[in-house]
C-alpha cells in the first residue's frame, strides 16, 4: 500500500473514531462539505475560530464563577453562546456539556457550573488535539498528491 492510500485510510479511520466517540457529529460533516476549492481551509478556519471563541468564553465564565456573588445570568449567556457555536461546528461533546451546564446555571448551582466549566475545558482541549491530528493527516495526504476524501 502506497503512502497515499495509507494516509487516506488512516484519515478515514480517524475520522470515524471521532464520530464514534462523539467528538464530532453530523454537523461536522456539513462543515466539511462546505470546504471547496474556493475555501480549501474552510474547516480549519472555522474550527480555529471556534476554539478561540471557546477559550474566551471559558475564561469569562471562570471569572464570573469566581465572584462572590455569581451572576448566573451572565454565565448562562456565555454557555448559551458556547452551545450555539459548538453545535454549529459539530463539536458534539462540548455541546452536550453545555446542556448540562445550562441546567446548573438555571439552578444557580455554582459547583455544578464550575464542574461543567472544567469539563468544557477538557473537551475543548481534546477536540483541539484531535482535529489538529486530522488536519495534519489531511495535509499529508494532500502533500502526497492525494485529495482529502469526502465524508459520507
Amino acid at each position: 500500500m502506497d503512502v497515499l492510500s495509507q494516509l487516506q485510510r488512516q484519515l478515514a479511520d480517524f475520522l470515524a473514531s471521532l464520530y464514534r466517540e462523539g467528538f464530532v457529529d453530523d454537523q461536522f460533516t456539513q462543515l466539511q462539505k462546505l470546504q471547496d476549492e474556493s475555501s480549501p481551509d474552510f474547516v480549519m478556519e472555522v474550527v480555529s475560530l471556534f476554539f478561540e471563541d471557546c477559550e474566551k468564553l471559558v475564561n469569562n465564565m471562570a471569572k464570573v464563577l469566581e465572584q462572590q456573588v455569581v451572576d448566573f445570568k451572565q454565565v448562562d449567556s456565555h454557555v448559551h453562546q458556547l452551545k450555539g457555536s459548538s453545535s454549529s461546528i459539530g463539536a458534539a461533546r462540548i455541546r452536550n456539556v453545555c446542556i448540562a451546564f445550562k441546567t446548573f446555571c438555571e439552578g444557580q448551582n455554582r459547583e455544578g457550573c464550575l464542574r461543567c466549566l472544567q469539563q468544557v475545558n477538557h473537551e475543548h482541549a481534546q477536540l483541539k488535539a484531535n482535529l489538529q491530528s486530522l488536519f495534519t493527516l489531511e495535509r499529508q495526504i494532500v502533500a502526497a498528491g492525494g485529495s482529502v476524501p469526502a465524508m459520507q
Partner: protein, 713 residues
C-alpha cells in the same frame, strides 16, 4: 388623440415592464435554486456561526460556493453581508435601505437583543427577519413568532434550511401586494422607481418640448418626493398596513394615472360632464373624446397603482381612493347643479336649453339658496377624504405649490389656436369665432401664469387642480358658492381681482394642487368667466388642464353649448382641472361676444394636458336645461374653488378665475377626465353624447338621491 394613444401605449409598455422587473428575491421562476442576487444580512455575535452561515449562504446564492471575501464586519458585498454586532447591522440597514432583502439574526447578542433588532428592522425597513438561536425551546420560538420573525432557526443550522429563506422574502412581498390587490402581481421598490422613471420619460417625450420636460421633471421630483414620503409613511407600520395619507401630490399622481388610463367610467363621473348634464345643458362630446373613450383601457386600481408607481402604496389604497374619487365626482355634479355650476359651464346658460337627454336630475333638493350648505360640502369632503370636516375657513394650503404651478405654466409653450396642442374647444356657432381669440388670450394667460396678464380676456386663470375636497376645500367651496351667488345676483361683473398672481385664491375644494408644475400648468383653467355676469371667480370650477407631466396629452375641450350657452371646458389633466364657471351669472344669449368669451373662459385649455381634460366641456345638446332653476343665474359655484370672491371686471373675468385658480393649487381635482378634442360639430357631438350619455344616464339615476344624500350628510 393620437398623442394620447401613444402616451397610453408607452405607459402600458412601462407598466408591463413592471411585470418583468423583479426583485432579486422575487424571482419565483427559479424553482429549485436559491435566488441569486438575494442580499442577506447576517447578524450574530458568534464569529464561528457567522462564518459558517456566511459560507453556507454563499453556496446557496452562487451555487458554486464562492467564498465571500467579506471578512470585515459590515463590509458590503453582494450577496451575503455579515455583522457581529447588532448596532452595526442596524446602521448598515439604515444606510442602505432597500439594499438587503432578508436579515438573519441571532437572538442572543450582547449589545442588543435579537428581538429588539427584529422589531426595529421590521419597523424601519420592513424586511423579513429570520431569527436563529441555539435555544430551541418552544417558548423561545414562540417569542420569536410574537416579535414578528419570519422564521426561527435552531442552531446548528444546516445549509438546507438556509436554502429556503428566499421564500420569506417572496412571501412578504406577495402578502404586501395581495393584501388588497388580489392580483398577485409582484412589484417592489425597484419596479416602482423604474416604472416611475418610465412614466416620466414618456411624459417628456410625449409633451415634446420644454413644457413636457419641465413637467416631467417636476413630476419626477414630486413623484420621488412622494415616493419617499410614502415610503417613510409606510415603514413605521410595516407590521400592519400603513394608513395612506392622500396628500396633494399623491392624489395628483392618482388623478394622473386615472387620466392616463382614460377612465372610461369616470369620464361619466367627470364633474363637468355631470354638471352639464344636470344643468340640462346641451353637451357636446368631442369626437376625440369619444374615440378616446372607446379606446381607453380600464382604470382599475391595479393599473392605477402601477402607473402611480408609488412604493408602499397598495392596490387597496388606490381602490378605496378611486371609489372615493368617484363618489366625489358624483357629488360634485350634484353640487354643481345646486350651486349654479351650470352657469359656469355654460357661460351663458339658457334656461330654455332643451332637456338633457341623459335625464334630468331632480334638483328639487337644492336648498333654497341653491347653495350647497357648508355642512354638506364638508361632509362631502370628509367622506371623500376621510378627513374631518374643517372649519369654514379655507386657506390655501399651498400657495407655494400654486406658485410653482404657475411658474410651470410659464413654461408651457403657448400654443395658439389649437388648444395647447390639443384640439380646442370649438365654440359653437357664435362662440366659435370668438374662440380663437380667446383661446389665445387664454394661453397667454396661462403662459404668463406668474404674472397674470391683466388683459387676458377670456383667459382662464391658472387652472388649479380641483382637488380632493377636504374640510378646507369644502369650506372654500362654500365660500365660493356664496360669493358666486352674491355676484350672480348682482348680475354684474365684478372687477376681477387682480389677475395673476393672486395665488391666494382659496383653493376650491375641487382643486387639487397638482404637483406644482402641473397644477397650474393647465393654466388654462377655463376662465369661464362670463363677463356679463358678475361672476365671481370663485365660482369657477377650475379644471386645470395642465399636467403636462402627465402624458395625457389629450385635451378635452368641451363645450357646453346650449343655445347660447357655451361652455367650454377643457379638462385639464388630473389635478389641474379647473372648471371655471362660465358666466355663471347671467345667461345672456344675446351676448355672443361674451359668450364667446365665456366659452373661452370655459375652455380650460390646458394645453396639452397630459392629463385628461374634463370632457364636460363641449357637451352639447345632450343636456337640456333642467329648468330655469337649474340655470338660474346664480354664478356657478366653484366646485371646490375657493377663491376669494373678487369681482371680476368684465374683460378680466378670466383673471378672476386666475386668481381663483391660484388658490386652487393644492386642491385636488378629482377630474379624471381624459382630455379630448372638442369636436365641433354639434350633430355628431350630440350623437356622441347620446352614446356617451347613455351610460351616464344609467349611472345617474340615483343622482337625485345623491343630492339628497349630500344634503343629508
Amino acid at each position: 388623440m393620437a398623442t394620447l394613444q401613444r402616451v397610453a401605449s408607452s405607459l402600458s409598455t412601462s407598466a408591463s415592464s413592471y411585470g418583468s422587473c423583479k426583485d432579486a428575491g422575487a424571482d419565483v421562476t427559479v424553482s429549485d435554486q436559491f435566488p441569486a442576487g438575494l442580499r442577506v444580512l447576517v447578524v450574530d455575535d458568534d464569529i464561528t456561526c457567522l462564518r459558517l452561515l456566511e459560507k453556507m449562504l454563499c453556496r446557496c446564492l452562487y451555487h458554486d460556493g464562492t467564498d465571500t471575501t467579506n471578512r470585515e464586519r459590515g463590509f458590503y458585498r453582494e450577496g451575503v453581508t455579515t455583522c457581529s454586532q447588532a448596532t452595526a447591522a442596524l446602521k448598515l440597514l439604515r444606510e442602505r435601505k432597500g439594499y438587503f432583502d432578508v436579515v438573519l439574526s441571532d437572538v442572543h447578542m450582547p449589545d442588543m437583543d435579537g428581538f429588539k433588532l427584529l422589531e426595529l428592522v421590521g419597523l424601519e425597513m420592513d424586511l423579513p427577519v429570520i431569527m436563529m438561536s441555539a435555544d430551541g425551546r418552544t417558548s423561545a420560538v414562540m417569542r420569536g413568532i410574537r416579535h414578528g420573525a419570519c422564521d426561527y432557526l435552531i442552531k446548528p443550522i444546516r445549509e438546507e434550511e438556509l436554502k429556503n429563506i428566499w421564500q420569506h422574502v417572496i412571501r412578504k412581498k406577495w402578502n404586501e401586494n395581495k393584501e388588497q390587490e388580489h392580483s398577485g402581481s409582484f412589484e417592489d421598490n425597484d419596479c416602482y422607481k423604474q416604472g416611475n422613471d418610465d412614466i416620466e420619460n414618456a411624459s417628456s417625450v410625449n409633451e415634446g418640448g420644454e413644457e413636457g420636460v419641465l413637467k416631467g421633471q417636476k413630476k419626477r421630483n414630486i413623484a420621488k418626493e412622494e415616493d419617499d414620503n410614502e415610503l417613510e409613511n409606510d415603514d413605521p407600520s410595516a407590521s400592519k398596513k400603513p394608513r395612506v395619507v392622500w396628500s396633494v401630490e399623491l392624489h395628483q399622481q392618482f388623478v394622473c394615472a386615472v387620466n392616463q388610463l382614460g377612465i372610461d367610467s369616470t369620464i361619466f363621473n367627470d364633474p363637468l360632464f355631470l354638471i352639464a348634464r344636470k344643468l340640462s345643458l346641451r353637451v357636446t362630446v368631442s369626437f376625440a373624446q369619444r374615440n378616446f373613450l372607446a379606446t381607453i383601457s380600464e382604470a382599475v386600481p391595479k393599473r392605477i397603482l402601477e402607473l402611480m408607481n408609488v412604493p408602499g402604496l397598495t392596490r387597496e389604497n388606490v381602490a378605496s381612493h378611486l371609489q372615493k374619487f368617484r363618489l366625489y365626482l358624483k357629488r360634485l355634479s350634484g353640487v354643481a347643479q345646486q350651486g349654479g355650476i351650470s352657469n359656469t359651464f355654460c357661460g351663458l346658460m339658457d334656461s330654455n336649453v332643451k332637456v338633457n337627454p341623459f335625464g334630468r336630475f331632480d334638483i328639487q333638493t337644492l336648498d333654497a339658496s341653491g347653495q350647497i350648505p357648508p355642512q354638506t360640502l364638508a361632509a362631502l369632503h370628509a367622506e371623500l377624504f376621510g378627513r374631518p370636516t374643517g372649519s369654514l375657513v379655507t386657506t390655501v394650503d399651498q400657495p407655494a405649490l400654486l406658485q410653482a404651478s404657475m411658474q410651470g405654466l410659464k413654461c408651457i409653450p403657448v400654443e395658439h389656436g389649437v388648444a395647447f396642442g390639443q384640439p380646442l374647444v370649438k365654440c359653437q356657432s357664435n362662440i366659435s369665432k370668438h374662440f380663437p381669440r380667446n383661446v389665445i388670450s387664454f394661453e397667454d394667460v396661462a403662459s404668463g401664469f406668474g404674472a397674470w396678464p391683466s388683459n387676458s380676456v377670456g383667459t382662464v386663470g391658472p387652472s388649479s387642480n380641483l382637488g380632493g375636497m377636504n374640510g378646507q376645500n369644502s369650506n372654500m367651496l362654500m365660500d365660493i358658492l356664496q360669493q358666486q351667488k352674491q355676484q350672480q345676483q348682482s348680475q354684474q361683473q365684478s372687477p376681477l381681482s387682480e389677475p395673476s398672481r393672486s395665488i391666494n385664491v382659496q383653493p376650491s375644494c375641487l382643486v387639487v394642487p397638482s404637483q406644482s408644475s402641473a397644477t397650474f400648468q393647465a393654466g388654462n383653467s377655463p376662465a369661464s368667466v362670463d363677463h356679463n355676469c358678475s361672476y365671481n371667480r370663485s365660482a369657477m370650477i377650475d379644471y386645470s388642464l395642465l399636467s403636462p407631466q402627465l402624458n395625457n396629452s389629450s385635451l378635452n375641450i368641451g363645450q357646453i353649448s346650449n343655445g347660447d350657452l357655451k361652455t367650454t371646458g377643457v379638462s385639464g389633466y388630473s389635478g389641474s382641472v379647473s372648471i371655471t364657471p362660465l358666466s355663471p351669472c347671467s345667461v345672456n344669449p344675446d351676448n355672443t361676444s361674451q359668450q364667446g368669451r365665456s366659452s373661452t373662459m370655459a375652455i380650460q385649455v390646458g394645453r396639452q394636458l397630459p392629463g385628461f381634460v374634463p370632457n364636460i366641456s363641449n357637451f352639447q345638446g345632450s343636456y337640456s336645461a333642467k329648468s330655469s332653476e337649474v340655470l338660474d343665474q346664480r354664478p356657478l359655484r366653484n366646485l371646490g374653488f375657493v377663491g376669494k370672491c373678487t369681482s371680476i371686471p368684465s374683460r378680466l373675468a378670466v383673471d378672476e378665475f386666475e386668481s381663483t385658480m391660484s388658490n386652487l393649487d393644492h386642491e385636488k381635482i378629482y377630474m379624471d377626465i381624459s382630455g379630448n378634442k372638442v369636436k365641433q360639430e354639434p350633430s355628431i357631438e350630440f350623437v356622441d353624447n347620446a352614446r356617451v350619455g347613455i351610460p351616464i344616464l344609467q349611472q345617474l339615476p340615483p343622482s337625485p338621491s345623491d343630492l339628497m344624500s349630500v344634503f343629508t350628510e
